[in-house]
């Protein structure tokens, strides 16, 4: 085999309109051999994967953000155009374009294909979702289409095993060897004449291939009649959201007990089989009590992401965005902000990055600024711990009281986001129009393969956080809580004499008015790096404070005994705002390209958290 060939892999870019099944096709081509990063300078997600070609060389496959046109209206769409033109550093112009066109919605995808083809790069066309198209009576003469366009046309079914075999055959590097050194195409802005030319070309091709539109599925219309109804639709949305949060709490119970039991058993075993000393303390009090306390929340995070991914795949999310557009518009947000904000329930970072799909800068900024108010999954461990310790596990009607409190905390986050957005609107000058123009895709059953791949990606991220930053911080905190050792005549627990104890005592002055003791104050510090570390930090701090061997293995009963209800409520409310997440602030800095907005964000979140916790603590103290 020619070594020069294997040294320079063929670079393939997938281009298509949103919802054409491009990402499913990408998954089919690369399997799990993919990585997600960012384009240099911007936070547009860059999905790249690899596949071994038949001749042993590598295929580098790039999944470009979906776009309707090469004249961009959002940052995402601009990236797609710029990568194709070889304008992006670190991303040379692709040697081959796979233009993905949804056969069910041929005209809109074919229009883009005509535009892309004009760039003059080597291209093949993947005619995707052929199975659905056939079922719905769409007629397309594939040979004629290939002849009209002058490119190979490969029918694909991305969600089926073997559904992309013809495409895989067509993208083998041997066929495209001549084009290995691609000349970067010249770009001219699309003029009105170009646009009209494309439209008439499109009309010609559609007629030539005998295209007939899909038969309407009567169910889609009926379902949409309910889901898009101004009142009925909102009620369905509320029920869906509510079920999602109930499920996060009730389905996760059994697997969480299992992980918790496993962790406790490992801790006991280590305690029994190792001799007393710093290493045993590090493993049992630091690693198991700390990082283990966070690992317990893996099932809840999986369930939350399961719902988000399934809702996304089914085509429901843009409908929710439509329903909420008016409401969100009244506080200065766009309906398009719904999807970034929903992702923020998992983590604010992908949420803030998803805000790039919002065309107007002001809408985008408002979305970014309120995204941290959506309760991210890192706060779930804190909520779950406190609710399990302080809220009785009772039924209220058909609902579970713990689930209700959880729902209330999420709702409080949403309401404060609306409030903050409204205040931002007051400060903004003038009223700029921002477009909606949102496609509501056909309903489809979420594809289990894509769902599992998406979940696996999230599990990997979570586990690498537990094994990485959370473990590291837990060990540092264990060290700070263990040294310096207490003087021989010490009376209190050893931790009070350590660095962490001293820091906690100092912070207590700041946090005592809102009911936080020194243990909580310490836990807030490593929580700056990742919110869920607050739980592992509490685990470590309490494990270290206990005298000798009678360490209570479980954090939950311990805090239930030692904290007042007012303190617990105050901490819960604190975490609705929880300003302490450095990675979120770093992403905001990168997204807005200025220190101004992350500083404003940290300031306003801290102020709101302190104020709300102060009020909560005083009110609950007075009542209880």
């Amino acid at each position: 085999m020619d070594t020069a060939v294997s040294a320079s892999p063929l670079r393939i870019a997938l281009v298509g309109v949103p919802n054409c099944g491009k990402t499913a096709l990408f998954n089919r081509l690369t399997g799990s051999r993919q990585k997600v990063a960012n384009y240099p300078g911007v936070t547009v997600e860059r999905r790249e994967g690899e596949r071994a070609a038949n001749d042993g060389s590598e295929l580098r496959i790039l999944d470009l953000p979906g776009t309707y046109s090469l004249s961009p209206t959002t940052l995402d769409e601009a990236i797609t155009r710029d990568v194709l033109l070889g304008r992006v550093a670190d991303a040379p112009a692709p040697g081959l374009i796979v233009c993905v066109v949804d056969a069910v919605h041929l005209p809109i995808g074919l229009r883009l294909a005509l535009e892309v083809k004009r760039l003059g790069l080597p291209m093949v066309l993947a005619l995707n979702r052929m199975d659905v198209a056939r079922r719905r009576g769409v007629k397309i003469n594939v040979e004629r289409l290939a002849a009209e366009l002058g490119v190979a046309v490969l029918p694909t079914v991305a969600v089926q095993r073997g559904g992309a075999d013809a495409l895989i055959e067509a993208i083998q590097p041997g066929r495209w060897a001549a084009q290995r050194n691609v000349t970067v195409p010249a770009w001219q802005e699309t003029t009105a004449e170009d646009a009209e030319q494309t439209q008439s070309d499109l009309k010609g091709v559609l007629e030539a291939v005998g295209y007939s539109a899909p038969v309407e599925n009567p169910w889609f219309g009926r379902v949409d009649r309910l889901l898009l109804h101004p009142l009925g639709g909102l009620m369905v949305l509320a029920v869906v959201m509510f079920l999602m949060f109930q499920a996060v709490f009730s389905w996760a119970e059994a697997p969480m007990d299992l992980i918790e039991g496993g962790m406790a058993a490992v801790g006991e075993w280590l305690r029994g089989s190792m001799s007393e000393g710093p290493l045993r303390s590090l493993l049992v009090d630091g690693v198991i009590a700390g990082a283990g306390a966070v690992l317990v929340f893996l099932p809840q995070i999986i369930i939350l992401f399961f719902f988000i991914l399934a809702l996304e795949d089914s085509g429901y999310l843009p409908r929710a965005a439509y329903l909420l557009d008016r409401l969100m518009g009244s506080v200065g947000l766009s309906g398009r902000a719904f999807i970034p904000l929903l992702s923020s329930f998992a983590c604010a970072i992908p949420g803030i990055m998803a805000a790039r799909t919002i065309p107007s800068w002001r809408d985008r900024l408002t979305t970014i600024m309120v995204a941290p108010l959506m309760t991210c999954s890192a706060r779930l461990p804190v909520y779950a711990l406190l609710i399990a310790a302080f809220i009785p596990d009772e039924s209220v009607g058909v609902f579970n009281l713990q689930g209700l409190v959880m729902f209330g905390l999420y709702a409080a986050g949403i309401l404060s986001a609306l409030l903050v957005a409204w205040v931002m609107k007051l400060f903004a000058s003038g009223t700029l129009y921002s477009p909606l123009m949102l496609e509501l895709p056909d309903f489809q059953w979420p594809n289990s393969g894509n769902l599992l791949l998406g979940l696996w990606e999230r599990v990997k991220i979570f586990l690498s956080r537990v094994g990485g930053i959370i473990l590291a911080l837990t060990i540092i905190l264990w060290f700070l809580s263990s040294y310096p050792a207490p003087p021989p005549d010490a009376t209190g627990p050893a931790i009070q004499y350590s660095f962490a104890g001293q820091l906690g005592a100092a912070l207590e002055y700041v946090f005592a008015p809102i009911g936080f003791n020194w243990q909580i104050s310490i836990a807030l510090v490593p929580g700056l790096a990742a919110r869920e570390v607050a739980v592992s930090a509490l685990g470590t701090v309490y494990a270290m404070s206990a005298a000798g061997d009678d360490v209570a293995g479980q954090l939950e009963p311990l805090i239930a005994q030692t904290w007042s209800l007012a303190t617990a409520c105050s901490l819960l409310v604190w975490y609705i705002f929880a300003p302490q997440c450095l990675s979120t602030l770093a992403v905001v800095k990168r997204e807005t390209n200025s220190w101004r907005y992350p500083l404003i964000m940290a300031g306003y979140l801290f102020a709101l958290a302190y104020l709300a916790s102060f009020i909560t603590y005083r009110v609950v103290s007075a009542w209880a």
Binding site: Y68, S69, S71, I108, E216, R225, L228
Partner: protein, 110 residues
Amino acid sequence: MHGSPVPLAELRRGESGVVSGLDAARMFGDSSAESAALLARLRDLGFVAGARCEIVARMWLGGDPLVVRIGGSTFALRRAEAAAVQVLRHKERPSPSAVLVAKDASAATV
């Protein structure tokens, strides 16, 4: 098809029509680069002369935003966006039963 073109935003739920053209002045009352870009995007989405479209849903109090079915795809548009699309109604001010008839007729031609 009856009468002169009206903005798409004026159609009621269930009403359908055929696009006759796009009108930038209807969008912002100017011809700025911004509204030109929005018009270009509408065209890319399939709002071109001759395309059949139907209003699937409208928000209460003024139909902002609204949902349009066009060329086999469905889009949510703001009122201002839908106002820029000129359509010829299938029927002038149909009664509810006339809407059903119009829908049956359009279903038969697909």
